[in-house]
């Protein structure tokens, strides 16, 4: 059984259909990259999987760990091990980063039938995870993302991922707005978290990120449909030839 199976997924936003029949299988231990030009539906796909209410699924199925993902609300998905790293992480003034993570981690642990972590164990876990993403400990006591630079926000997303240890992570344009140093640190963090026990979907416009996080599979999403799938070489070819190349090839095939 696949970890995630998306079958003929159609989804609309404000009455406009954005996804026109996505098919995708992700197995445990795999890293998939979904590439596509602006407006192709990449972020919509990530949003549908995470449970954004604005996206309406009009057709198709998503099976996650044998369960109907689309029936779960966002918090249930998270507790079942799904994680979305936001393209634009949200600032939450007045809510301390570590307080927030404690509430999140304990909600997930409770769901798994585990005991809540006490303050001391939780703090040592946090400190250990900050090292993984090379994040300054001072960020723990700051309000979530408030006043963080673009790079710091993305790093904080990967830090959350490190603490919550999801089964399936969806990284939505995690590379956008990052300079090369930040990109390296964030990628290294993701690579360290990569294991045989989890899977990752990387949503990106550019091949750049994939130099650092090498995917097992690459899918090209154009106009709401996956038009081409392949190995990591596909990403390199895309970078050389551009998305028009896939578009033309698809037209010819039709």
């Amino acid at each position: 059984m696949s970890l995630l199976e998306v079958k003929n997924l159609h989804a609309s936003v404000n009455g406009n259909e954005i996804l026109h029949g996505i098919n995708l299988k992700v197995d445990i231990g795999e890293v998939h990259a979904i590439m596509g030009p602006n407006g192709s539906g990449k972020s919509t796909l990530a949003g549908v999987l995470a449970g954004r209410e604005a996206y309406i699924v009009t057709e198709g199925q998503v099976v996650y760990q044998g369960k109907n993902l689309l029936e779960m609300n966002p918090e249930e998905r998270a507790r079942e091990g799904l994680f979305l790293a936001f393209q634009y992480p949200v600032e939450i003034p007045g809510v301390n980063n570590s307080y927030f993570l404690k509430a999140a981690l304990n909600a997930i642990r409770k769901h798994k039938g585990l005991e809540e972590l006490d303050a001391i164990d939780f703090l040592s876990l946090l400190k250990q995870k900050t090292k993984l993403v090379e994040m300054n400990e001072s960020f723990l006591n700051r309000p979530v993302n408030e006043g963080f630079s673009g790079g710091e926000k993305k790093r904080n997303e990967i830090f959350h991922m490190a603490v919550l240890e999801p089964k399936l992570s969806i990284l939505d344009e995690t590379d956008s707005g990052l300079d090369i140093d930040a990109l390296k640190t964030v990628s290294e963090g993701v690579n360290k978290l990569r294991s045989k026990e989890n899977a990752t979907i990387i949503v990106t416009h550019y091949q750049r990120l994939l130099n650092y996080i090498v995917p097992d599979f690459v899918h090209v999403l154009v106009d709401g449909i996956i038009v081409k799938s392949g190995g990591k070489d596909l990403a390199i070819k895309l970078e050389e030839l551009g998305y028009d190349w896939v578009r033309e090839e698809t037209l010819h095939a039709v």
């Binding site: 966002p74 918090e75 007045g94 809510v95 927030f100 909600a107 997930i108």
Partner: protein, 446 residues
């Protein structure tokens, strides 16, 4: 109109009865103040929504009831156990039952030499000249009917006098308890606070209703801050939901004095808080913060007025409201900058969170600036919980109800965290959590 007139007659007759009970005290200076005040009250009557200052707050529920003025102290069987949870850890506390000082329930402890914390009635007896030089002098200018009514029946309340050069770390609490009673009553504490030059202290006013009876608290606090003094003045209002609360705080600030006010309003069916500050000496600075948390059909109105009369004074203001149910909030923030008040720095922020469709807010910043070299800003926002923030929290595993609580609490925390009296901050935090949990579970645990 007729019922209003009837109401004036009611208080007039109560005043006559009060006067008869006074005997020899009738010739005192304080009684002259009372007589003047009842005359002004009778002339002007209660305000209506036709008056600009009361446009958004209809006080007719108050004028319909004949509240019995409290003329004598009675303990009403209240024990320390009944009030223990309202007393702040480590605070010197003067306790008042229906506006009258209770020596049984108070614990003044040991204070630095010259510091007086206790009853206004006692201060009037012991040292009338000292009290008379301050009392009713500050509030006269823009007096409301309620302040006049308070002055007409003035007898007791909190009296705090700090000589110069004294720094008191221990918070001083004035705890006002409303007892249960068969008849609706009006408790009218009159508080006077004088902080001497270069002195510093923290004073907390707490207003509590012990039962579910109907009463009116009509309180007036006058504050004098001498040169270079610092005062933190916090007010926690948790009257019962059948009661009414009208509060007036009036300040006189001298050179380079600092005032910090945090007003937390949780209780009462109809509440009006007035704060009037005159920055009448150079280098003085005031910070006024407020938080309203209301539900049901509560009406909570905060009126602030800051008068920048002299140059080089600063004022900061942050008023927030979290409104649920069918409740109504009012914020009216006046800032005057007089012609001579150059180099004024005034900032006003007003933010409201509406948790339900039925809740409403009237927010009215009112800036009148006559000087040209000043920095004045104001901003008012009204909104609901942010969907994107809610989704972010949920996408990390936090359920919708908890996510709403976290965000609502964060909104409140912005004000609560400005309270430096730690036991009060914690108490307010607990009460707000209890209120928010109540939304989820229907159970209040304090």
């Amino acid at each position: 109109m007729q019922s209003v007139d009837k109401n004036i007659q009611w208080y007039q007759s109560r005043f006559e009865a009060f006067e008869q009970s006074l005997n020899g005290e009738k010739s005192t200076a304080v009684h002259t103040l009372r007589r003047d005040a009842i005359r002004r009250f009778t002339q002007n009557g209660f305000p209506t929504t036709r008056q600009e200052e009361w446009r958004f707050t209809n006080i007719s529920p108050i004028t319909k009831i004949e509240f019995q003025p409290i003329l004598h102290y009675e303990l009403h069987g209240i024990t320390r156990d009944d009030i223990q949870k309202y007393i702040l850890d480590g605070a010197v506390h003067a306790v008042f039952v229906n506006g009258m000082f209770s020596s049984e329930l108070s614990d003044i402890g040991t204070l630095p030499q010259g510091v007086v914390v206790g009853s206004l009635a006692e201060a009037l007896k012991k040292n009338p000249e000292n009290v008379q030089q301050y009392i009713a002098r500050l509030v006269k200018g823009e007096e409301s009917a309620f302040t006049a009514l308070n002055t007409a029946f003035v007898q007791d309340g909190g009296f705090i006098s700090i000589p110069k050069d004294v720094i008191i770390d221990q918070p001083i609490q004035l705890l006002f308890i409303a007892s249960d009673d068969d008849r609706p009553f009006i408790a009218q504490p009159r508080n006077l606070i004088v902080v001497g030059a270069k002195s510093q202290c923290k004073i907390v006013e707490t207003y509590v209703g012990l039962d579910q009876n109907t009463y009116l608290t009509n309180t007036v606090t006058e504050i004098v801050l001498e040169e270079n003094s610092h005062l933190e003045h916090d007010k926690l209002q948790i009257e019962n939901m059948n009661s009414f609360h009208i509060g007036m705080t009036q300040l006189q600030m001298n050179t380079a004095s600092h005032y910090l006010s945090n007003v937390i309003s949780l209780g009462g069916s109809l509440v009006r808080n007035n704060i009037t500050v005159v920055l009448d000496a150079e280098g003085s600075e005031c910070t006024l913060n407020g938080l309203t948390l209301s539900t049901g059909t509560q009406v909570i109105d905060n009126h602030t007025a800051i008068d920048h009369a002299k140059p080089h004074c600063n004022s900061h203001e942050l008023y927030k409201a979290i409104l649920d149910g069918e409740s109504k909030g009012v914020f009216n923030g006046k800032i005057f900058v007089r012609k001579d008040a150059q180099k004024t720095d005034a900032k006003q922020t007003n933010k409201t969170l509406l948790l339900s469709d039925g809740a409403t807010i009237n927010a009215k910043p009112q800036l009148e600036i006559f000087a040209d070299d000043v920095k004045c800003t104001h901003g008012a926002t009204i909104g609901q919980l942010d969907d994107e923030q809610l989704f972010y929290l949920r996408s990390r595993g936090i359920d919708l109800a908890a996510a709403r609580d976290i965000l609502t609490f964060a909104f409140a925390g912005d004000v609560i965290n400005r309270i430096t009296v730690e036991p009060l901050r914690q108490q307010a935090e607990r009460m707000i959590h209890a209120r928010l949990d109540f939304r989820q579970t229907g159970i209040i645990e304090e």
